[in-house]
């Protein structure tokens, strides 16, 4: 396809997407223009608002990196959500257990390592089931998400429950362990996530490991025959992917809430999944799609307050329409893989 045609097509798809969304908003009984202006203003209207968008984008980018890495190895990591939850649980556990006794400069790095290791372990269960018993990771990671959710639920209630509070959340971690926001609402993990996205991309595209991962992802049989330990590569990729998703949990506990609130995630793992699928291996697209979905998360909050009839659920509708349109585009190209 020539590039002119490609841009033409993208242009028409964008117009089409906007038209469909406008029709939906009109159908609900609001003005598309006012809804759009609420969304835009809420996400990018001020530095304050933008920092909120960055705040929502951070875990999305981390889980997106996780999914992207696994996807490059040919694995569909639907479990980023669960791995993130396990990462959050491990962070808060480590913080509460060792925070009071050990010095801060020991606790923080060890907590991060512990959380990443726990999340990697969680992903590793799916990896082990896949390579040892041939159980597809799509099934196992979905199921492990529920187990992780239940585990967090139970731990918050039974082990780390904050006695001073009625709501479902753990005790706060020691003040010295709190990272505090980096810039307004954005956490220190925002630049870290971007750095990690660049790093993951660079590893995949320029190193021997990356070549082996991509080769395995596209054609495990040929890779195996060429002398690549495809099974090990897949397992390694999934472990690293889990560790990266775990960082999203660390971000929540140490960077923002300073405790584990049950149900803190609006589905970051799944949004990250969408982002990785949209980006299809392109770094700029990964960042752009992350910002788009982060902005929708932030904008959704104000939809409840500032529009007549449209609620925050519209953000989910918008995400769905975007994904459907992109699926349509991929299908037309003959279903090229990531």
């Amino acid at each position: 396809m020539t590039s002119v045609k490609k841009y033409q097509e993208s242009f028409f798809l964008t117009i089409g997407t906007l038209a469909v969304l406008s029709a939906i908003v009109l159908g609900i009984g609001d003005s598309p223009i006012s809804v759009a202006s609420v969304l835009l203003n809420s996400a990018f209207g001020s530095l304050e608002n933008f920092s909120y968008t960055l705040f929502y984008s951070t875990p999305i980018l981390l889980t997106a990196c996780s999914v992207r890495l696994a996807l490059a190895a040919g694995l569909f990591n639907i479990g980023a959500e669960g791995q993130m939850l396990i990462g959050a649980l491990a962070s808060v556990a480590f913080g509460l257990w060792f925070g009071p006794t050990l010095p801060v400069f020991v606790v923080i790095p060890s907590a991060i390592v512990f959380a990443m290791a726990a999340a990697a372990f969680w992903a590793g269960i799916a990896g082990w089931l896949r390579v040892r018993h041939g159980i597809h990771e799509v099934i196992s990671t979905i199921l492990l998400n529920f187990v992780a959710l239940a585990l967090v639920n139970w731990s918050v209630l039974e082990i780390f429950k904050n006695p001073e509070n009625q709501s479902l959340e753990t005790t706060w971690i020691a003040e010295g362990l709190r990272f505090g926001p980096l810039w307004k609402h954005a956490t220190v993990f925002a630049p870290l996530a971007i750095g990690l996205a660049v790093l993951v991309h660079a590893v995949l595209t320029t190193t021997w490991f990356g070549l082996r991962v991509r080769s395995t992802g596209h054609n495990p049989r040929a890779s195996e025959l060429a002398g690549i330990a495809a099974t090990k590569i897949r397992l390694k990729s999934l472990l690293i992917a889990g560790a990266i998703a775990g960082l999203a949990g660390v971000n929540e506990v140490f960077g923002h809430a300073y405790r584990l609130i049950d149900g803190f995630s609006p589905g970051y793992g799944f949004i990250g999944l969408s982002v990785a699928l949209i980006a299809r291996g392109s770094l700029p697209m990964l960042i752009a799609a992350t910002l788009l979905f982060g902005a929708l998360q932030k904008g959704a909050l104000d939809l409840d307050l500032e529009t007549e009839r449209v609620t925050r659920d519209l953000a989910a509708v918008i995400q769905a329409v975007i994904l459907l349109v992109l699926a349509l585009q991929t299908r037309k190209k003959g279903g090229a893989s990531s």
């Binding site: 190193t207 021997w208 070549l211 991509r214 195996e224 025959l225 893989s337």
Partner: protein
């Protein structure tokens, strides 16, 4: 052009940026057998599909009885008695041969089939043509030769008087091929016209009245087979004179064993490949070739469970996995290049790197792109891979060039005295590329490499091998050697072994 003739006139067909046909013309005369030959990408399939109405040409005409027809399509083609038999069978394996033959042209009164009438019609057809198949068997259980008969019966049953056959003999044994060509002659004597698309020129000379040669999307000649020769057709197809090797010109060093296959239980499945030797494995596909390759690459251990073992350079492979075998001095050209040999989505350069020993280097060190790009470029030039673009995804290369890429990668990874396992190294590859690949293999053998060549093309085995074994139903027959008088193999004896007609192999201790 007279009544009953069909053909194409000045056909061109453009797909996107690719011009599949530039100017194709030929005439299939009534009651004749016509060969359509050309290299891969010469436009054979496209022309054939245009004639059958599956593709609409960009310009030019389909000619029926000497007149151009408009809006040609499959339905009209079928109505004028055209029938097509595709290279890959389109039979439902779970239905009987009877049902498969009738499928698509069944007639029913009030939805009730008259099986007896169907059966009478099929039996008449079988008697007239000599195409006998067991009608009540499921086609899935039939041997390949029977399946191809089924396909032809199916076309005839639907009333076809003109048949288009796409590579009909590519999966048949030599014995079955002869049988098949005789059936074509019978059909011709009954007034059928047949267009046969093939790359086997010997068969063209044997049965065709005329032959049309395509090159780069254009007809270069339509010839009477009586007035031409295989050499002339080859030259027209390739555009230059080919000098294909006909036999290895060196003696192997029988003292140095490169590969040893032994059979600890029955002592039947045993042979060795020594340094400088090219050992051929003939046989119809599916008779144990995959298992033999899998035994050496450690990906299919069926033979090992039957007590068959491998020693490579004297080392037992029993405990090895694919990766450790790969670290030996061994090149593998797999049978299925797109599934087992290459990663189509990766670039040519990246594919050339896959087998490299550096792949075992530190995981997270950077690939030195600059130096590798130059070495990749050199490799591509040396192996005549076109286009010479290391950055192009391998899926964008033609089959022959993909095969050359595999060969470039694999041969670069071994020393002079290494071992080469080559399975169907020239399948679906142009004559020019075949010439190149055969020369490369013989050069390697001459400088000391041991080669195990698995192929279903007897001509290939005859051109390269010192000795040939035949695989039939997972059993080894042979070895067969060249006749010391004329240095050629006895194709009749080998052909018989391929169909299981010869005696089982005597025990080797």
């Amino acid at each position: 052009m007279s009544s009953g003739d069909i053909g194409l006139q000045n056909i061109s067909k453009v797909f996107g940026n690719v011009c599949a046909n530039k100017s194709v013309s030929f005439t299939l005369r009534s009651g004749t057998i016509h060969g359509l030959v050309g290299e891969n990408g010469a436009g054979k399939s496209t022309s054939m599909k245009i004639l059958f109405g599956m593709i609409t040409p960009t310009s030019g005409h389909v000619m029926i009885d000497g007149r151009p027809v408009d809006n040609w399509n499959v339905r009209k083609a079928a109505a004028t008695g055209l029938g097509m038999v595709q290279q890959h069978f389109h039979l439902s394996d779970v239905e009987t041969a009877h049902d498969n033959i009738v499928l698509g042209s069944e007639s029913a009164l009030l939805g009730i089939r008259n099986r007896k009438a169907e059966r009478r019609k099929i039996e008449t057809l079988m008697r007239n043509t000599g195409l006998y198949v067991p009608l009540d068997q499921k086609t899935g259980a039939l041997p390949i030769g029977q399946k191809s008969r089924c396909e032809i019966l199916k076309a005839l049953y639907s009333g076809a008087r003109r048949l288009i056959l796409d590579e009909p003999t590519s999966v048949l044994t030599p014995y079955e091929v002869n049988d098949f060509l005789n059936i074509l002659k019978t059909l011709r004597s009954q007034g059928h016209s047949i267009l046969i698309v093939t790359h086997k020129l010997g068969e063209i000379m044997q049965v065709c009245d005329e032959v049309t040669v395509l090159r780069a999307g254009s007809t270069v000649a339509q010839l009477q087979t009586l007035n031409t020769s295989v050499d002339e057709i080859t030259r027209l197809m390739v555009g230059r004179t080919l000098t294909l090797p006909t036999k290895p010109n060196h003696q192997p060093n029988s003292a140095a064993n490169v590969l040893e296959i032994y059979d600890s239980k029955a002592h039947r499945f045993a042979f060795t490949v020594s340094s400088g030797e090219v050992v051929g494995i003939a046989g119809v596909e599916g008779n144990g070739q995959d298992e033999l390759v899998g035994l050496i690459t450690r990906q299919n251990l069926k033979f090992e469970h039957q007590g068959i073992g491998v020693k490579l350079f004297g080392n037992e492979l029993r405990e090895c996995d694919t990766r450790t075998v790969r670290s030996r001095d061994l090149a593998i050209v797999p049978a299925d290049r797109t599934h087992d040999g290459l990663v189509l989505e990766l670039s040519a350069a990246e594919n050339l790197l896959l087998g490299k020993k550096q792949c075992g280097a530190s995981d997270f060190s950077r690939i030195p792109v600059q130096t590798l790009e130059t070495s990749c470029l050199n490799q591509m030039r040396e192996f005549d891979v076109r286009p010479t673009e290391p950055g192009l995804p391998v899926g964008a290369f033609s089959g022959g060039n993909q095969q050359k890429l595999i060969l470039a990668r694999e041969l670069a990874g071994i020393t002079r005295n290494g071992f080469i396992l080559a399975a169907h190294p020239t399948r679906g590859v142009d004559l020019g590329a075949i010439e190149f690949i055969h020369r490369q293999l013989l050069d390697r053998a001459e400088s000391g490499a041991g080669i195990l060549l698995i192929s279903s093309e007897l001509s290939e085995l005859f051109a390269l091998c010192h000795k040939i074994y035949v695989l039939y139903k997972n059993e080894l027959r042979g070895p067969f050697f060249r006749d010391p008088r004329n240095f050629s193999f006895d194709s009749e004896v080998i052909g018989q072994a391929m169909t299981g007609l010869s005696q089982k192999r005597a025990q080797v201790s």
